[in-house]
Subunit: 158 residues, 4 copies
């Protein structure tokens, strides 16, 4: 099907532009050593190795870093579709992790309806789930054809 | 009322011990420059000045740091009552912030019922709300009488 | 202040029109015996006496009815501002109730920012909280000047 | 594998007992015409045909009934494992429905860790998603071996 192939190509191209837009100038990824990979329409994977500076007083990872990793995967996943922002997020903490652990956050699109999207992110360590995250996105603009414009996630404009 | 005064004194003492327990050995507060103050039964305030390393590609604060600050205030507030962990949290992002902004997260206990608690945290900049957070806590042990034991937030044991 | 008085009068008038709009033709309120009162800018109260038909197999109120009551108070509160829909909601169930109990849901606006709003609803019985609800609204149109038009809550348009 | 077959048989037996326990004496299912089917370890499906008495003033289904249906599927799914209660739930409303529509809620277990579980429920009409629900369960007792005891969902004991 010619049409289907064209749609798929457009989606991959939109994902590529969204990924380039989010990576450009982002200071958090290099500062924390987060890597983002497997960015494709509606999905993305982010990885982080927990450092001692991310620990609470009792040697467990601060929940804020677990959330940040999941939110990063979510941002890349929803920005494959359009210029999108995070409106709200939920997170369930299932078990603690600690320094040296590699956390992997895999985001997948659950539903996309008009300008609203719902994305699920599972955070795991050694293949075992340590947190479940759900993010709600809001599209604020079509994907720009040039990576020099656009707005990253983490805000909800009026 | 003698009894009421005694209860109030016990609650303040529990809050003091919880605060000391969370502060001891915490690596995140000094690493990010977060200050925690006004810790009292059921409440706490956390402050953070956003740095360039906390910005997305388009000069807005990564939502993960906004969450982390709110989660910190929540952790201190719920650990004034007992040794408590975060079970789940929700966050609404209302407007973006950027480097140099001072974010203030004020946590207050909405309801405490048995081992479960619900806490609201408002994050503001210059007195204007930028995010609303709700955290659910689960008590896992009574407040230890000595600050050398206990478990920090960020995990949910089985 | 003349201006302030005028703003306040406009807000009360918007609230009155929103309330009239939601009441018109609503089938759920009379069917379940829900009463709505104290509708004012950003707030509303809904009451329900639990009937045997609302009970689970073990004589406790189905959580769906607790949610429905909170959602009703939320809908009236957010529609005092504009024609608004519920985008998403969270609920915490704190203790069970049963037939004959009168549940009271009080909704209050936490923050209104552009087209987005966050509302808190506390559901209580005899003054004791049994559930906490948080709803996110999205404005889809200004308040119509005539009550014959508009859209009720419970949907999220694209 | 003898052992695996025994485990699977035990899980099916637990699911059967949980289902019987929830059905016994439930007044909501017959009152609203909800049918529950396909109850198996960690999953359940609930169906409801919307009636005029479930409509808001503008001919759309009250969000409370959409939640109630999802909550029902969630309750049956999590009670296949043990005697479990709903601690908290989130719902996203994606599009409106109306009288005559058949809504189908399919619950599936996302993660079960100790006494805590996370379940996702998708509500659809004609195969198209109209709402996404996430429920958090808390186990309060092992599955009783006799269906005459146990506690239904919709409460969170201390």
């Amino acid at each position: 099907m010619e049409q289907s192939a064209a749609v798929e190509r457009d989606q991959r191209e939109s994902a590529r532009r969204g990924e380039a837009r989010l990576r450009a100038g982002d200071a958090v990824l290099p500062a924390l050593g987060i890597t983002v990979e497997d960015v494709a329409p509606g999905t993305a994977t982010a990885r982080l190795t927990v450092t001692p500076a991310m620990l609470n007083g009792h040697d467990t990872t601060h929940g804020g870093y677990v959330f940040l990793l999941a939110d990063t995967a979510f941002a890349f996943a929803c920005n494959t579709r359009s210029v999108a922002v995070a409106a709200s997020c939920d997170v369930d903490f299932l078990e603690p992790t600690t320094a040296g652990d590699e956390l992997v956050a895999v985001a997948s699109e659950r539903v996309l309806r008009g300008r609203s999207g719902v994305y699920d992110v599972t955070v795991s360590r050694d293949g075992r789930t340590v947190a479940e995250f759900r993010g709600r996105s809001r599209s604020i603009a079509p994907q720009p054809t040039d990576s020099s414009t656009g707005t990253s996630t983490g805000e909800e404009p009026s």
